[in-house]
Amino acid sequence: MADNEVTLTIDDQTITVPKGTKVVDAAKTVGIEIPVFCYHEKLGSLGCCRMCLVEVEKMPKLMTACTMDVGPDMVVKTTTERVEKAQKGVLEFTLLNHPLDCPVCDKGGECPLQNNTFKYGPGDTRMDFQRANNLKAAPLSPVITLDRERCIACQRCTRYSEVIEQDRALVMLNRGFHNEVGTFNNEPYDTRFSGNVIDICPVGALTNTQFRFKARTWDLTNSDTLCAHCGCNCNMTLGVRTNKFMRIESRPNDYVDDGWICDKARWGYDFLESKNRIMEARTTLDGASKTLPVKDAAAQAANALKKIADEHGPGSIGFIGSPYGTNEELYLYQKLFRQQLGTNNIDHKVYAETPGLPIPHYDVSEIETSDLVLVIASDPTEELPILDLRIKKVVTRGNAKLAVLNDQSTLMDRYAHLSLRYDIGAAAQVFAALANTLAGEKGEVQDTGITGEQLNSLMDMLKSSKKTTIIYNPAALTGQSVDVLKHLLSEIGKISSMECGAIPAAPYTNAVGALDMGVLPNYYPGGVPLADAEAVKQQSGENSPLEAGLSAMEMIEKANSGELKALLVHRANPVVDFPGSKKIADALKKLDLLIVHDMLETETSQLAGIVLPSNGPGHDDGTTTNIGGRVQFRKGGLKTTNAPDWKIISMMAKTLGDETDYITSFSVTDEIAKMVPGYGDISKKSIKKMGLARTAAQYQNGTKPDSAKSQPAKSDGLKLRIASYLFAHDKILDADSRLAHQFKPSTVHLHEDDAKKLGLKNGDDVIVVSGDTQVRAEVEISGKCNPGGVVLPRISDEQGVLGLAGADGISSVEIRKA
């Protein structure tokens, strides 16, 4: 027995568990159930419900098993008469003023109070007084309704708000018998993670307004699926009844989400039944718009692409995929375009990320064992909310330090031990300087907004750490700064005293998978570069095209100049999401053929010649790779008559002579396992419960960046940083969304100095101008960025912020009074 282990006896069973384990958890390991209400393994002990009383030898009182650490040679008894009497007594107290609501209660059927009463409770009550009455439906927020009568004051929700969310938004009010859950001044409880209190509530007090009285829990068909919003890929359960979407619940997976999901995951799925869905295929190729069977549309699309490729050469067609697609969809599309159509004009993004990392690719759970978390240019709170919770967890429990290196202030700064803010556009220079300092050379940090000392203190933190997790957001890094960052990562990796790994935290569902699947103009699946012709041929066959393809933005440019004739866009909306929005619409209009394969009607699908329906998350099966490189299975739950995406792609490939038959999405997964390096172990079985981390893609050693090149370009205007906002009003969260109360008005964040120069004050209406694009916004003078920059959160599609951005994402803007 190791030093950190303890042996004890529970109900005549001798067990050995790690020191510090609570008795209730120790009992669970041998299948002895001690009933609890207030205890939750992620929240820790409180001991207020008194349900877990057990008898411990040599202790006069009954002890609460949830607050008591195991001790050596402890003898615990959970079934003695005394314990049973206590359990009955406590349950009688708990039920004293709990309404007999079970037939109408939404928790009925999955209610710990119901279960415990059934197992341990008294059969009857002696209470013959009028039960206390209270408010039956108090809206805590537009999406959470609180039934005050049902609350048993276990304080799980308030502790969640305190311990996990770290903001104490939800608190206990009043005293004694009158105590109740509420917020200060009755403000709505509308944080980013508020929905989790519904899952942890052991009674039906906190209810999901969406699901309220809609169905009984046992009537639901639950499918274990993944969230399809950000790159965290949190595990969740999709409840469906009679093919109607009912609710979403979290499904704990410690490798991914630690048991929580954000509000966008819980309530951001109204698009599953949106009016805006593309339900059938349509074509305008023969003149007027007409609908046609999906099969015919797929064939027509494939033939039309082939025809143009034959006439103008394979370079005249292109594919823009989506970091929101599943691995299967992405793999099949790149295979279709490379093998059947012979082009490398394949891309899925507008930022400069490359597959692979110079240091290990860390799983999200590695953060827990790190003692330093370095967040670079990422805003987890808005981009990857569950990652934010994980970082808060390790930092607030004192297990790790947090360093933030960013060009805008984020909510993470509140927890950071060191927070450096460089000027917008100076990322490359700062990374180069830090890399040089680490390599022992002189790091130049002039005109970057941070000082040499600050850089040194960051370096000291890195050097004194034993294990570091670096989280960076490639999508927020403009120009070539991603390359410089990778050079920096390799320099950090050289610190011998420290283990380190990185998490490329792009805020898209399957951003890592898209890189791995080779939806890139210059890499084949698994990060095999075009330059390595041998490897490519070995992997993908002799006929694989080897000439470099066009990136997404290059394709748009070529479309504008007429060199690109046909484009297939899958689940992407370049007209709004790509920098320079308006120009992109013009370019797309010049194409001979635009095929859009999407789930919802978008500005791009309006321009398309052929539109194919995509079922998307909630309907289709598939696998995705999260930011930590974990491959998980995303199951569909709702049925639809339309063919799943992978089948439509397979139909197109078959039209062009491909002979592979895929029976289910897993047939494609099996092919991925065979063909894509790093995915060899992925199979239906291996990713079943917890998912499986794939081996990181191969990394091409980058060259040391030219410091002159990374010098930020001088310009007159203010440098623009487009920030993210979790609840942006876009196609997914449309006007009918339940989260509409979270939508924000367009706001531009200015530094005090700049505001003074421009004569602006808080609340002024302004127009942010770049070229011929104008964006209206309200001024907020905050320290969100250094002088010389503006931060403009993207809050809706209509706002059109990406119109302001230049082709490489960098742009200067002018601010005028409206």
């Binding site: 207020c48 008194r50 007594g89 004051a153 206990m172 009158h178």
Partner: protein, 418 residues
Amino acid sequence: MTQILFKDINKKDLHTLAVYEETGGYKSLKKAFAKEPDEIIEMVKASGLRGRGGAGFPCGLKWSFLAKDVFPRYLCCNADESEPGTCKDRELLLKNPHLLIEGMILCSYACRIETGYIYLRGEFYDLCEIMEKALEEAYAKGYLGKNILGSGFDLDIHTHLGAGAYICGEESALLNSLEGMRGEPRMKPPFPAVQGLYAKPTVINNVETLCVVPYIVNEGAEKYAAIGTEKSKGTKLVSVSGHVKKPANYEVVLGTPVREIIYDMAGGMRDDNQLKAFIPGGSSVPMLRADQVDTPYDYESLQAAGSMLGSGALIVLDHTVNVVETSLRLVSFYMHESCGKCTPCREGTRWMWQILHQIQTGKGEAAHVEELLDICDNMSFKCFCPLGDAAVAPVASSIQNFRADYEELLQRMTANTV
């Protein structure tokens, strides 16, 4: 009669520093600073001083339990005296605030504490002003602040007014309240001596306990230990209230029979009525019968008699009282003051109140008495903090000792309604 705390209590202007020094105040500091801190802890241990707040935990032992080598440490003086019947600390704070300050300085020196807090009950705002003034005087004279009397020892003392919750007299709830959180008791372990205020080692003592320390330092542990009984040393302030002729605070040598306190000190029963029952240690302890009036007033004897010394509030009831009403009154207090954290206390106190109220208003049934006993059993020692046990004490003991009262009331009321 030995008087330690109340020696000069009625001296005019004792609350001013000048008068206090006249009576020999702050003399102990020099003596203490000449010794090692640990020696003082040993002295307090040797004196046999036990906590006067209610639990009666040996004071010196408590000080020696502080987590080793963890600094800063804090001292909290528990002046949240809210127990029904108890008003001893109030008199000390009102008339002799400097004695407490002196005691706190000694305790802080012994435990190497540099910050002290006096947590005053919310209703004590007038005492808070007196205390503030006394602290000001002490700072001006150099008894507080940096380098006290050239000893190199620093101490700051702050006052803090509670918001009016009985539960904040519980030490860990007091810490929560002091930190600005809800006044709810904390989980133990960790005990405050290990992780208390701001998660640092903390000593929490009652006003009376701290006030005794100067005497021990001045006169030596042996002299203090000579007072009282073998296990209960020293004197105790007893707040005598109820149906006596002279209700007041009396300083009593531990071991004095209760009869002596009631009949000699407090002048006997009002109107020379017959003694029916008495609660020896504040509302939180079980009540005793008249035939137990010869019990010596000390920790052990009262415990043997089935009650506790508690905070030292002797509530005397004469034969005109029906104990059901007493229980109802006390339970309604506990129902009002329960913090609501744990289920048995939150729900149980209200249920007991409902039943007692029903019995009192004549709607009771015979089965209710047994039901009350069972509720008491389900609550006692199953609550998060001692408040639940305290709420049970008057009800369980009144049924145990005066069941006839309940039956009489039930019968009378049933007769009336029929």
